[in-house]
């Protein structure tokens, strides 16, 4: 049995997408790309310490899924999570401040990029443990099911987490308890520095969801509309009490595992081929083809996000670092 494959749809009528929504999708992807380009620059300049993991190339997945979620819906993210946080509505200034370790950040500088929590927008956090957010989202789905308000939960994880046993335990429970949760795998081809095919058995990892009777589909993760279409089906299932879904979004990580990774393990031809499918370029072209946007509106949108990110950097740089009085605070409630 082969996995059901969903072809990317390019019909705005079929998608019921308004021009306003289309521009919002584009802007959201531009914001993530711009935010991370600046994070890279700040990291290289020593303003951001530690390790940062960027998602450039993968923006369509976060935006496609989160554009369909309400504030009360929950997400749990992973180590490559800037996109998920921003797409779910995070404040750009507080995000940037956290990544820079400032007191005005979401975690007052205690977490950094790997631990950005945003309770007001239903974000259970980026996560330093591969697969760590998966059961958190399922737990949020258990809460949602008990409340009966129709909320859903989404966990985002990479292909590396496809080999964590925790995923299968949680998929099993989500299926038997019919939890309103989406398992969204961003398959970018690499778990850290290792190609997925070198460490993953079986002809197609989609079988891992199908084994539990979970509706599962592989999606073009470079096409925001394809992601959105598949996510809409999954969210509808979850909201109507029909349980979990599993999406594998085929995408590509333009950068390394973290900034500074030399990426000797990558094939340049392959990388170039993926860049031709860039989700932002591609969606921008499509918006123009169907007359939802002009080249000028797209440039204006880009300038808008650049201004927003620049302002966030200014605020973060001006913000204080946490001091000794913050060290032990909030250990216990």
């Amino acid at each position: 049995m082969t996995a059901p494959l969903q072809k990317a749809s390019t019909s705005s009528v079929q998608l019921n997408l308004t021009a306003k929504e289309g521009l919002q999708l584009l802007r959201s992807m531009q914001l993530i790309r711009t935010f991370e380009e600046q994070v890279r620059t700040l990291y290289s300049g020593g303003v951001i310490p530690g390790l940062v993991h960027l998602c450039a190339g993968q923006e369509a997945v976060a935006v496609g899924v989160c554009s369909l979620l309400n504030t009360q819906d929950i997400i749990a993210s992973n180590h490559r999570g800037h996109g998920h946080c921003l797409a779910k509505g995070a404040d750009v200034s507080r995000m940037m401040a956290e990544v820079m370790g400032r007191r005005t950040g979401y975690g007052m500088g205690r977490g950094g990029t790997l631990h950005v929590f945003d309770a007001a927008n239903g974000n259970l956090g980026t996560n330093g443990i591969v697969g760590g957010g998966i059961p958190l989202a399922a737990g949020a789905a258990l809460s949602a099911k008990r409340r009966g308000g129709g909320e859903v939960a989404v966990c985002f994880f990479g292909d590396g987490a496809l080999n964590q046993g925790l995923l299968f335990e949680v998929m099993n429970m989500a299926a038997i308890w019919r939890l309103p949760v989406l398992f969204v795998c961003e398959n970018n081809g690499f778990g850290e520095f290792t190609a997925i095919e070198d460490v993953t058995a079986g002809p197609d990892p989609i079988a891992r969801g199908l084994a539990f009777g979970i509706p599962s589909e592989t999606v073009d993760g470079m096409d925001v509309l394809a992601v959105r279409t598949a996510a809409q089906r999954a969210i509808d299932r979850a909201r109507s009490g029909r349980g979990p879904s599993f999406l594998i979004c085929m995408t590509y990580r333009y950068g390394g595992h973290h900034v500074g990774d030399k990426q000797d393990y990558k094939d340049n031809t392959e990388a170039e081929a993926w860049r031709l499918k860039d989700p932002i370029e591609r969606f921008g072209r499509w918006l123009q083809e169907i007359d939802m946007a002009t080249a000028e509106t797209i440039v204006a949108l880009k300038h808008g996000v650049e201004d927003e990110v620049r302002a966030a950097i200014g605020l973060a740089k001006a913000a204080p670092f946490p001091d000794a009085s913050d060290l032990g605070a909030s250990l216990h409630d």
């Binding site: 929590f117 760590g132 958190l136 737990g139 299968f168 250990l331």
Partner: protein
């Protein structure tokens, strides 16, 4: 005034669970065989009948995943009591406990709470062998962000379980299965004890015995033996290992000038070492002798009854050591 009557330790914990589940709809139970089966030690009997499958949730044998789900539920409005059937199996939930539950409140600068209880049974003496007999509570005391309680009496078990459920932080509740049938006075109705408060279980003036969990019963038996030799031992039960009521422990040692620390877990790098050094730091000038540590033998807990009980501190050995301490022989 609440009146009390005698009930078993097992029934006392159950009273707290019934009380808290009736009081607060967000309290849910998760674990293996805790539903219609009522728990392998009958420790959840009757809960499923009253609260149903929505609140008394039988999980598959998938401790890591199920506990991770409990953490996510706790972050989003539930108050899960998660049962780990044997204390040895906390190893299976360690990542979700140590790297997620313990840190979420801190990392999120207070945006999220994790109000959950991990309930688990420990204790040597049931011939359960090396993977079902360990008391690994010391591991969890090492992780900032967790609270660790270890009640020694039915009344404390009821009061601390209620407190653990109402606490907005992750609390690990260690109960000794060899105490389940211990019967003692327990207050009826609402009974909540503060977490972090030690109690003097027997007053004395020659030596302080600080004992945890079931070892409190061992210490009380030893104190009885010592009384026949005209030695007066004070028995102090921390009840909560994190936070630790340092003041009450230190006050007792300042009074007696001698201390023995007794714990049922492994001695190496364990509870006894932490408490002994805390006493030394705070009461060095009052001590007439070094603080003595007595813990479980540092071996896997063997199955055969001729070997298993050798790993567990007993009242005779404790009385012997404490008496020697008082007589200046240590």
């Amino acid at each position: 005034m609440t009146s009390s009557r005698t009930v078993t330790y097992r029934a006392a914990v159950l009273e707290a669970l019934f009380g808290e589940m009736r009081r607060d709809d967000s309290v849910i139970l998760m674990g293996e065989d805790i539903g219609a089966a009522g728990g392998v030690f009958k420790q959840t009997e009757g809960l499923f009948a009253e609260f149903g499958a929505d609140r008394v949730i039988d999980t598959p044998i998938s401790e890591a995943g199920a506990f991770g789900i409990a953490v996510g539920a706790a972050m989003t409005g539930q108050r899960p009591v998660f049962e780990v059937m044997f204390g040895d199996f906390i190893t299976l939930i360690m990542d979700q406990l140590v790297n997620q539950a313990a840190k979420v409140h801190y990392m999120s600068a207070g945006q999220f709470n994790v109000p959950l209880v991990v309930r688990t049974a420990v204790g040597i003496g049931s011939n359960l062998g090396p993977q079902h007999s360990q008391s690994l509570h010391a591991w969890l005391t090492h992780v900032p962000g967790l609270k660790v309680v270890m009640p020694s009496t039915p009344a404390d078990a009821k009061g601390l379980m209620a407190a653990a459920i109402r606490d907005d932080n992750p609390v690990i509740f260690f109960e000794d299965r060899m105490l389940y049938n211990l019967r003692d006075a327990v207050p009826e109705g609402d009974h909540v004890l503060p977490i972090g408060s030690a109690e003097i279980k027997r007053s004395g003036h020659d030596v302080t015995i600080i004992a945890t969990g079931r070892m409190v019963q061992t210490a009380l038996a030893a104190a009885e033996l010592m009384a026949r030799e005209e030695i007066s031992a004070e028995v102090v039960d921390p009840r909560s290992l994190v936070p630790l009521d340092v003041e009450r422990l230190v006050d007792s040692v300042k009074k007696t000038s001698r201390a023995v620390v007794l714990d049922g877990g492994y001695r190496q790098y364990g509870i006894t070492g932490e408490i002994a050094s805390t006493i030394t730091e705070h009461a060095f000038d009052w001590l007439d002798a070094p603080v003595i540590r007595i813990g479980g033998a540092d071996v896997p807990i063997p199955f055969s009854k001729t070997l298993e009980l050798l790993t567990l501190p007993n009242a005779e050995r404790l009385a012997h050591e404490a008496t020697a301490l008082v007589r200046g022989q240590r």
